[in-house]
Symmetry: D2
Subunit: 265 residues, 4 copies
């Protein structure tokens, strides 16, 4: 399990999310609260959108708190749209290629969760990635394969449906050949303009997902960055949000029929 | 292209190969002579056999010359059978998982060369690896997939034939969908008792391969570690050697018919 | 604060201390119990004695649990005398040069604790190191300067007295210009034959120090590696131990007069 | 010896200096031409000025060409004032703290060269740094001590004189206790508004230093980034330049009397 946070709004120094809050992402890398693993120190990453259409990606394998470069960049870089992640490996190696976020052209993706029995189903997931995207597979995580499959399923045109289909099919693959829990998924993805985030699980224990509206933007997080009462809105299990121009729209992530099936588990 | 060296014989400090010779592996990481790329500084690795059946594997992404840990280990560890490698990436990322040697149980493999058009054929190579081995795929190099395919083809029982079949089929895949040169291959592999090394290419430019007999063992290398006259024996293109108990046996790597085809290119 | 463990006895795989025990050093890097900081993930190091007179030193800046090289080395290297350390920085940077143990010729030193107000007194400590040793100052920690000062005060000939004088003078420097607590010190040092460890503080809160006798050797640790009842002996504050050939001798670290003064604080 | 480049002018993507030119800084990290060492792969660093008064500093120990983070940052960050450096160690360890540039508040410094016999005179140099600056000494290089001494000698108020005094006194220290060549110095320093660069040596072999005027700014470099004829102006030995608002002023770095003495060597 991992922790992550994203911002969409007026330009903000990255440190205002990564370092400054009482329970900042760096604090969560040592002391996460709503997480199976309190220590999320198997690498980190941040992708921010700036002048160019594609995001800038910075990742490293050290704990977020011990990388002076991250502290410098977070202090000096300002962006109106960024995604940041601290990792706790669920088995794959601690390499930069296995750290989140992942980017492809102007799209970014980061993930907290897992595909159950990934060791066994990895091959099937990889085979769902078409050749022209497969060459971009750099590391070995389930998260990276989910992103590439979603791109293959039309993420650019159908940001909800492509991701929902990806998650449903990966869950089906895990049910066929993997182990329970078959799917745990709290993710954010973005094209630099609209930020999407979804919360889902094949059982009742979806990883947490919250957002908070500020006067100048919206923050979406794995767990609240502070204890401000009534400020952080929890996204329901099986739902997702779209954040654009300060507006948050909540909707079902998978269709109602699918949700009914999930609820019957 | 990369540089590598292996030792089979009486226990020797790793530094006697990696650091001490006039043109040691560390020197080659800065100034390789018989190599397309003089600088081989995209990581390094060494696998040595000791008390246990499996080898000990040490890899890192820094240039070999700048890693104080490597210098310490090379100075203090003694082994009668070890394989060491300095890497020059032909495209894949500089991560530990992409550094050689690769190990599986008690087998070790390292490679200098490439499969032509790997970006295009990578998917086909990965699909030649059966599921039970595929879960051990950690990085993204062609070399790692060659090793896993060879294991699937029976490397443990048929160390020559399994590797030759792997190389032939990978070459065929490259001829079908990749780009020339389809195969460049100078590799060593070992079970800790017998050291194998082969030199092959789909054209006339196989990477170099030499060995040298000492009173207490045999060294096999990409390029000679010193200028001692008449001491280093060049392995012929299309041939391989088996080194065991101080004896070197040279033989065709692929069959004569295959060699005839290769020669006709 | 940091955690450490040392072994003197029959050759043992490093992993028998670093990885295998219920509360191994790697477990302590995530979940230390008797320590101000539960997470000790700002680098690690191990120095082991083997064939050569000098020890082999392996250090890196990642958390101990995330370094595959450490796991390999711990699994394959066997030594009858080694010192291992996981670090939680008290302010200085997370670089290899700031990781413990420190070595000089055949001596090794590692430390848990701090000199109070080091930022202010660092200069004075550095000036206690004579020129011929000062060139070996590689990092910026108080621990490294304590080791070099102890070497200057004759550590090789007077392993107890030189270290005690170093600690007393560093404490005096901190009392003059630093901040309380002026000295916290739980350290081990060794020449490869005799292992020394001391526990001391300028107040009543000396970092913990334990040892345990096995049939084939003695383990000395910051905190017990398991919950075996009555097996781990706590070293008293202000005392030290000498471990040689399986025998543990406990004695006052600083003289009784000094202890009386300390007790009066 | 090292290679470096700096820009003062209209905002420019860092990659326009670090990656894009024919003989970019990354190309120089593999193939420097006017340098004792062709390979400058012992770490790198870049400091850029942006919204804040202090610069943002990014350093790492890998070769510049192998760090995907550097390529990302260079592609996405734009700055009107930045200093970039690729390092070839002259003896000190390859750690981030030993990589250039160095920063202090809003000042930045980077250096190509060395103080002769640094191992012997390091202690004397360190003692020229006053206590309040000494706590900022993080690594072990001569370059970092030169910067801190220059700050102590009033770099902020007298950017030329403070650096010249530092270099002269360090040279004197080396003449007293070090080895020849006593001083090799091609450096750039900056407060974010004015860029200073000097070329000096205690013998006739000062490291090279060039600048080039563009319509939108000035580039200052160790060696030209391309072969454009007549575009790169060589700074004379013993001279320095000040670059501000597109204007380059050349002047003696040390006084004429001092230059006369140097010429007499």
């Amino acid at each position: 399990m991992c922790r992550w946070a994203a911002w969409s709004g007026a330009p903000k120094y990255l440190e205002e999310v990564i370092c400054d809050p009482q329970h900042s992402l760096i604090d969560q890398s040592r002391n996460a609260l709503s997480c199976k693993t309190a220590v999320n120190a198997d690498g980190f990453g941040v992708a921010w959108y700036g002048d160019r259409e594609t995001p800038c990606l910075y990742k490293d394998v050290r704990p977020a708190w011990s990388d002076p470069n991250l502290l410098q960049i977070a202090r000096h870089v300002r962006s109106g749209h960024f995604l940041a992640h601290v990792r706790a490996s669920t088995g794959t190696a601690t390499t930069r290629d296995n750290c989140h976020p992942y980017t492809f052209e102007h799209w970014t993706f980061m993930h907290n969760g897992q595909v159950g029995g990934y060791d066994t189903v990895r091959r099937r997931l990889d085979n769902m990635i078409p050749d022209d995207l497969y060459r971009h597979r750099a590391g070995g995580t389930d998260s990276e394969s989910l992103f590439l499959i979603a791109l293959a399923y039309g993420l650019k045109l159908h940001p909800r449906a492509a991701m929902a289909r990806t998650v449903s099919e990966a869950e089906a693959v895990s049910k066929y050949a993997g182990t329970a829990p078959h799917m745990r998924f709290a993710s954010a993805w973005s094209n630099g303009e609209t930020l999407y985030a979804a919360r889902y699980a094949s059982d009742r224990f979806a990883p947490t997902l919250y957002y908070r509206k500020f006067s100048d933007g919206v923050m979406v997080v794995s767990e609240p960055l502070d204890e401000a009462p009534n400020c952080w809105v929890e996204v329901q299990q099986g739902h997702m949000i779209e954040v654009k121009n300060g507006t948050v729209t909540e909707m079902a992530f998978v269709s109602d029929e699918e949700l009914a099936e999930v609820a019957a588990v």
